[in-house]
Amino acid sequence: MSKGKLLSCLLGLMFAAISTSGAAAQGVLTVGTEGDAPPYSMADASGNVTGFDADVARSICAKLDVTCKFVVQAFDTLIPALDAKRFDIIISGLGITEERKKKIGYSIPYASAPQYFIVSKGSPLAKFTSLPPLLAALKGKSIGVVTGTTYSRYIAKNIPDATIKSYDSLTQMESDLSAKRFDAAFDDGSSWTDYLKKPEGASFEVVPVKVVATDDPSTLGHGMGVGIRKDDQELTKKIDVALCDIIKSGQMKTMSEKWFSDDYSLTCK
């Protein structure tokens, strides 16, 4: 057998072993998601995705009468990969910001969660009740964030003296948080609700200072939306309609309460 044929055989065998069983030629919507950020997007070793974002994606696909296919990637690689046409849309707690709007388009915002800092139980930082003194106290401390998120942008802008520890994923950051490798972490309140339920979260508490998008929309954005390529106008319209349906029917509220124990859904005008 010639080298070329042998190579093709080998490659073919490997593809058969690895590729998931045939996605239908039509009616498939590929969704890029993080897979590493409970409770938004959790993926297990075989690629099954669960979480709030997965539910939102599946309800959109149901409305559009297509099958959802998830592609799991690190959060900060989602937008460039969408641009490179690796998938059709991004549903991964993607905040809508002006900077990102320069690169991709968005659907209507469908949810918005407040952000909180989390610190060790008994830390002096936990005593603050308003934002400005808290930000001042955080100067020079180390703060954990996920790379590429609006939260990392917020910290970089508002607490420039802090040492920022950037992680590729929320679970990685949480693992280092449990190991007390930094002083405080900044992310969605829903992430912390989920974290505090776990045994490692027992020695941590959330600082009761609520940070909402309106505090600093230039970095925190205007809520979460579905990321879509700018030239995909038709798909954007279809998704907007589907999202509106889902919000108006109360499905979004149910999903939000299921994962966050709180209603973070936004209204559709």
Partner: protein
């Protein structure tokens, strides 16, 4: 090509360069003596010592550096004993320390192989002559074996140094902000993937080039001053012969 982007990227990546060079420096300064120690252990007549050195070399050369970094950073971070000792934890809690430790241990293994090759490549006659002159083991090592071995091993060690610089990029997987880590962060903010990574690649290229240049044109001739060193390229000789 966005000139604004390049102007923004260069100072940031240069900051990462200092971290990269710091990792490389520690790895060389600590890794070389460590590697030398293991090389001597391998060549010693003490079987246990040689066995330990062999095991060390096989483990660290047989497993990927990424796994070694993960074991030291994530694995040791799980050990409660370490977390409770403030002094130890102060060291292991930092990604930079863990990654540098892993890279140092890794390069020590490869260095031990390189130096072992160098030590074994010395012709027996020179050592016999040294012994005949009544040199002690330590004097013989200091004046004869080590300089000769080092000269023999230099091309391979120069290569190893460039590998160290490249491997420092793996530190970015454990939050260290060296060149690759900063490039990723920059990419996630500006979304200019190709430009940012090309710049980062260029930076590594320049560093490695400079290192190789220093090694080849300064260090090697300095160590071989006793003979005319034509550039040891076999293809050059081949060309002349064929012509």
């Amino acid at each position: 090509m966005d000139l604004d982007l390049i102007q923004q990227a260069i100072p940031l990546l240069l900051k990462g360069l200092t971290t990269t060079l710091a990792i490389g420096l520690v790895a060389i300064v600590v890794g070389f003596p460590l590697g030398l120690g293991f090389a001597l252990a391998r060549l010693s007549s003490n079987r246990t010592l040689a066995g330990i050195a062999l095991l060390y070399s096989m483990v660290f050369r047989g497993t990927p550096l990424l796994v070694q970094i993960f074991i030291i950073y994530f694995g040791l971070g799980q050990v409660q004993f370490l977390r409770d000792q403030t002094a130890l934890w102060w060291f292991f809690s930092d990604g930079f320390n863990c990654a540098t430790l892993a890279i140092t241990l890794n390069t020590a293994a490869y260095t031990s192989e390189i130096l072992r090759g160098g030590l074994m490549g010395i012709s027996a006659g020179e050592i016999e002559a040294a012994r005949a002159c009544g040199m002690s083991d330590w004097l013989c090592f200091r004046r004869i074996r080590f300089p000769l071995a080092f000269r023999l091993a230099l091309p391979a060690y120069a290569n190893e140094i460039t590998v160290i610089v490249k491997e420092s990029s793996l530190a970015s997987t454990v939050t260290v902000l060296e060149i690759t880590g900063l490039a990723k962060r920059l990419m996630s903010e500006t979304f200019a993937v190709v430009e940012v990574f090309t710049l980062a690649g260029l930076l590594y290229l320049i560093v490695n080039f400079a290192l190789l240049l220093v090694m080849r044109s300064w260090l090697e001739p300095r160590l071989s001053m006793h003979r005319n060193v034509a550039r040891p390229s076999s293809w050059l000789r081949l060309r002349r012969r064929r012509a």
